[in-house]
Amino acid sequence: MRQRTFAESEQVDFVIVGSGSAGGIMAKELSTAGFSVVVLEQGPWRRTQEFVHDEMSTWFYDDLLPSRADFPQTFRRSADERAELSQGGPPPLLYASGVGGSSVHFTANFWRFRPVDFKERSLVGAINGTGFADWPITYEELEPYYTRVDWEIGVSGAPGPNDPPRSRPYPMPPMPVKSSGALLETGARKLGLNAQPAPLAVLSQPFNGRNACVHCGYCMGYGCEMGAKSSTLVAMIPQAIDSGNCEIRPESIVLRVDIDGAGRATGVTYVGADRVERQQNARAVIIAANGAETPRLLLMSASPQAPNGLANSSGLVGRYMMWNAHGDTFALFEHPLNEYKSVQATRIIHDFYDSDPGRGFYGGGGLDSRLFSGPIMFGLFGLPPDEPWWGQQYKERLHEYFTRTMQVAAAGTSLPVETNTITLDPDVTDVLGRPALRATYRDHPDDVKMIAFLQARSRELMEAAGAKKIWGEPAAESTIGAHLLGTCRMGDDPATSVVDRYHRSHDVRNLFICDGSSFVTSGRGQPTMTIMALAFRASEHIARAAQNTI
């Protein structure tokens, strides 16, 4: 179906900035509810058949990411440092650019948050030097929307002993176990832990008119040419188009949110692929540009009425960024695992989810089994550090190790630290003359301790599973964030939060913000399921508000 288009002069009900995990859902929800919607997406509109099994293009030539030359980023550890331009390797703020956003290239680990995640400040108490706080909503309030994600986006899985309550079973069985999952389970059995099937936003069987996964192995970082990975590109955008009320405008980069004299949003100013500046007027503006681009846009929308940035009377726009700490442990086994086949993770362990005062620090996390590296990455960095890195023995080791290696990936909490921020770089600009994204980030010491703890458990699990050899880098401070959380936090008090419990900006009545930036705490390392649940919930409230003329 051809999508409806709107004239630029036409005032639509909603303009949505971003078409990813949150924006894609809100576009579908609001357009199918009868509202007129224009979605401005900075990246291209790729179709599923355009995605390829090409490690070089995807991981080394950044085919799915924003152009680094055109959209530079800078990084520093703390505010007293000058931020350095990121010139190579993945950017510090890693997200995909294109319709569907990062839901196109993500790994598709779909852990729900648990009740504790929303009220942990009350349970654990204050933590010095952090903005650790309860969410204004509970798991129980969000549960119906998690279930909608399961059934409308498409999640495969099976119940596990550590799961939060769910009102409806998974819509389809889990993906078949891989050798890494079988080995994690073997280790868990011996140690008295619980390895359970990984919930994944990947279809284990045909669902809602979409294909099932064919186990090609190109998930993490790649787009899915089968449409089996549950991105909003395949699960939501087609329905938004079919509603006849939604226009997706790719390659449209928003410069600022426009505000009238009364302090209400009137729309946005943006440029299309031709770089010509345009306005899109709307009754309400929704920003869902991700936890880095959303605060950047608000800060760029400063005006005499809002000199520190739009919706920023609290001063918290861009603050409390959380990336989720990560750490890996690698293991070699006797027989082939062939981890290059199928999805990344098929088993997870959530026995260390809750924070335990007995550990001496705050934190919780989860483990999953996989092998991240494709052939090039494995050839470059896959062998243990005590093996040669070129020559005959290097070759022999690659021949032996590639099919016999797995990793246990540990993902954990990030505490909200006010000095971890997105700000506008004062020295570096992008191709449009906008200030570059500047990330300032240093993990809270407890975040690193939690990862070290999880790596120690990973090592025990691999020993118990019978590994021939185990290796890994020690837990260290992060330099890259793929989970961009907390930078426009949700709360009831306008002095200590940016949006209210319904994602409405405290400062601008017809401005809504919903994506990873809304998070108050980080969860345990897999945030997309929660971003999507928040988007379903926000859409319902926004639609209700719109019926009351916002």
Binding site: D54, E55, M56, F60, Y61, D62, R68, A69, E84, Q87, G88, G89, P90, G160, P161, P176, V177, K178, S179, G181, A182, T186, A188, L193, N194, A195, Q196, V214, H215, C216, G217, H326, G327, F333, H335, P336, L337, N338, K341, S342, P375, I376, F378, L380, F381, P385, D386, W389, W390, G391, Q392, Y394, K395, E396, L398, H399, F402, T403, S478, T479
Partner: protein, 198 residues
């Protein structure tokens, strides 16, 4: 290179390394447009590198992933042709680094053995490469060889999937379970719908 030195080098190469999480040591080959993807054949002339540079990088590649043990190496994969294409396209910013490094290897071989690097014996080549092993040139040249052996053949290397053969990787657009030895065993013991340890 000793392990500690290698790690130090890698972690200090901030200009072209990521760091942190999964991309712990991922080199910088970003900000690049699409590569020239016409697959070359073994006897095609090099287009970016000179004939002498082409001989040198073929020799270098052969010492990174040697041939002759019954498994394909970098030469069988045509890794040098990948490098030639990449240095004329997405990795053009490394061209001077690589040609300079190859000239340096030739100069060292001439000084020590009175021959070009490509004409030195494998033992002599290995010794010369050890001399420059801690350089940015070596790091990026090795990257080109490894990528040229294992990247999708559309980039000009990995001919006849030689790299996948070396890794014992089955090349197919789709797979079916069992995927490996342990999941096959797991299903045999626990059944196909086993739901973890619970």
């Amino acid at each position: 290179m000793p392990e500690s030195t290698r790690r130090e080098f890698v972690s200090s190469s901030a200009a072209f390394l990521g760091g942190g999480w999964l991309w712990l040591q991922l080199p910088a080959v970003a900000t690049l447009s699409a590569c020239a993807r016409d697959a070359a054949t073994r006897n095609d002339p090099f287009t970016t590198l000179s004939a002498a540079e082409g001989r040198a990088i073929r020799a270098f590649a052969t010492r990174i992933l040697p041939s002759g043990d019954g498994l394909p190496g970098a030469e069988e994969a045509g890794a040098a042709w990948f490098a030639d294409g990449a240095l004329g396209g997405p990795m053009a910013h490394f061209r001077d680094l690589i040609t300079g490094g190859l000239a340096d290897l030739d100069a060292r071989a001439t000084a020590a053995h009175s021959v070009a690097f490509a004409d030195a014996s494998p033992e002599q080549q290995d010794a010369l490469m050890h001399e420059v092993e801690d350089s940015e040139f070596f790091f990026i040249a090795r990257l080109l060889v490894v990528a040229g052996t294992f990247a999708d053949p559309s980039h000009g290397g990995n001919r006849d999937h030689a790299g996948f053969t070396l890794l014992q990787m089955e090349h197919a657009p789709a797979f079916h379970p069992p995927f490996g030895w342990y999941d096959e065993e797991h299903v045999r013991v626990h059944g196909p719908t086993a739901g973890g340890t619970a």
